[in-house]
Symmetry: C2
Subunit: 334 residues, 2 copies
């Protein structure tokens, strides 16, 4: 670990997550930790699913967004918020801004799922569309932010965002204790790594022997490879994937040093494995999980991680999937 | 109210539900009370959804079944359990029997959803299929119970079943208090009336001004008509409906006197309204609700009940729906 990385890790700790938990208390939802007797039978282990798809705005992103806005200077916040996002951070920020009564501008790729675009607009945000393959959302964002005096709320590379997402881990610790469960393994979907940085910090503090794994879509395993190499590397191509929520180019500058410290490794799953896991979540857990939110469950149910005899926590991180795709996934599985 | 009805009511009270809550504590799941900012905006009110589809076995039925078995003499219980059910009570009883390590025989209609039949078998129960339109499940049940010394666990007309289902109401009272919500209206799916008897008793005890409504599928509005007439009447026909879970012939002998006491009335919804509500639950709440479990939500979202300016609780009572039907519902809505 480089000197810079060590310093970054020391700047983010359980105390940040506890402070975030106090800010979002009574506003974010304590999502259930679900369990299915039949899935346990199938795996020969105990599977606990943290259903963040049931969070307000349909993903964990609301936690970080609300925490970030809550910690802002009210006068700065009142001038307005800017964010770029393929959809879940967009909705989280738009809803948090709506709750604080401040304007939000969201920069979204033109090919983001229709549901995510519509919902973001319905939370009162102004949407600016861009071409994912031709334009830079960072450039567009910087220009608009400068012109209008808006504050950028980054999707993951911000300690307040990481801390907000980590409140899901604090809840999970309490819920495991309530079930008398000591998890051996925990897996979460990983894009930029904000959820994982917060979640793993909270879980590792309570369960020091816990092995945590980042799960990514095939072709977007930048975190897995970065963990192996000990330094951040980017994805070399941008193959097609149904996992729109976590098709990020590389691990975050602030999230990676944390995840390097807390994680045992990373692994990737195929779209086909994700589709099967979405159908299993439908049938056995009665929750709607979007592709990118289902990669950790897919890693377990596909057998990519041996879990027999173990207690395993997975985060189902979001549920914002267009009905036509979900119908197609179910029709294939039927 | 007749003398007999008065006596029956006095036999079932909040104390039964509290006793059930103690028996199922740590075994049944405290299901979340979900809320969607966008659904609230659409309705101009506050909608709180008790997500019993997230209960073990995918419906509230596990609560009553477990409470019934927990209260049995262990020697009698060990000889085995018999139940008849279109599927949700079947799964609840099969799973409760599995937890107690006792054999279960379940009599199911041949046209019950494939998922319900398969799941019931996977919980270790012996399934006996019958023809819904030609044979009497009660006759088959009596014969098998007598031959094998099994105890019949009725689907609703049993104070222990009603009390078990009522634990959902006790939870809901606590959850409303946690949200600072005092509901004006509450609606729940109603077949034989066991859920409603328990739920309404618990809710009415905490919120004396609450108006509660039973919701049924069109053509199966026996409870609505019985409440109007002040006496139990049966459905005259058995039209087709997608709401398999609540196509019951008439209100229960024990449940009706309770519901007559607690409910303001009943209303019926169409299959088309149910389909739309299932798609809304998918999109806005990220939960899988089966047709029969979605009638109360359908009554609110279709505008059959005016809710502007009010706080409304609905029970989403189950999520055991075949993927092909759910896919069809989503494809229609897309």
């Amino acid at each position: 670990m480089t000197q810079a990385d060590t310093e970054t890790v020391s700047e983010f700790s359980l105390r940040d997550i506890e402070a975030a938990a106090a800010r979002i208390d009574g506003i974010a939802r304590c999502t259930p930790l679900l369990e299915s007797a039949r899935l346990n039978d199938r795996l020969g282990g105990r599977l606990l699913v943290k259903a963040e798809c049931l969070q307000h705005t349909g993903s964990f992103k609301f936690r970080g967004a609300y925490n970030r806005l809550a910690a802002m200077d009210p006068e700065v916040r009142a001038r307005g918020i800017l964010a770029y996002s393929s959809g879940n951070h967009a909705q989280g920020v738009a809803r948090a801004a709506q709750l604080f009564g401040v304007p939000a501008t969201i920069i979204m790729p033109r090919d983001a799922p229709a549901m995510k675009q519509r919902n973001t607009a319905e939370y009162g945000a102004t949407i600016v569309l861009y071409d994912r393959h031709g334009e830079s959302r960072e450039d567009i964002g910087r220009r608009i932010a400068a012109e209008q005096g808006l504050t950028l709320v980054k999707p993951y590379d911000d300690p307040l965002i990481m801390a907000g997402q980590g409140t899901s881990g604090l809840e999970c610790v309490r819920q495991c204790a309530g079930l008398g469960a000591v998890p051996d393994l925990a897996l979460a979907p990983t894009g930029g790594g904000g959820l994982m940085a917060g979640f793993s910090t909270a879980m590792k503090a309570a369960f020091p022997d816990l092995r945590l794994y980042a799960v990514e879509p095939e072709g977007y395993d930048d975190t897995a490879r970065s963990l192996q190499l000990g330094t951040r590397v980017a994805n070399s191509a941008t193959p097609a994937s149904i996992c729109d929520a976590i098709m990020t180019p590389e691990p975050g500058e602030l999230t990676f040093p944390v995840n390097r410290h807390t994680l045992a490794g990373g692994l990737a799953v195929s779209d086909a494995e994700v589709r099967k896991a979405m159908a299993d979540a439908f049938a056995e857990l009665k929750i709607v999980v979007e592709p990118g939110g289902c990669v950790a469950l897919a890693a377990v149910l596909s057998g990519r991680v041996p879990v027999a005899g173990m207690t395993v926590v997975v985060v189902a991180s979001g549920g914002n999937v267009d009905p036509a795709l979900f119908a197609e996934v179910l029709a294939q599985a039927a």
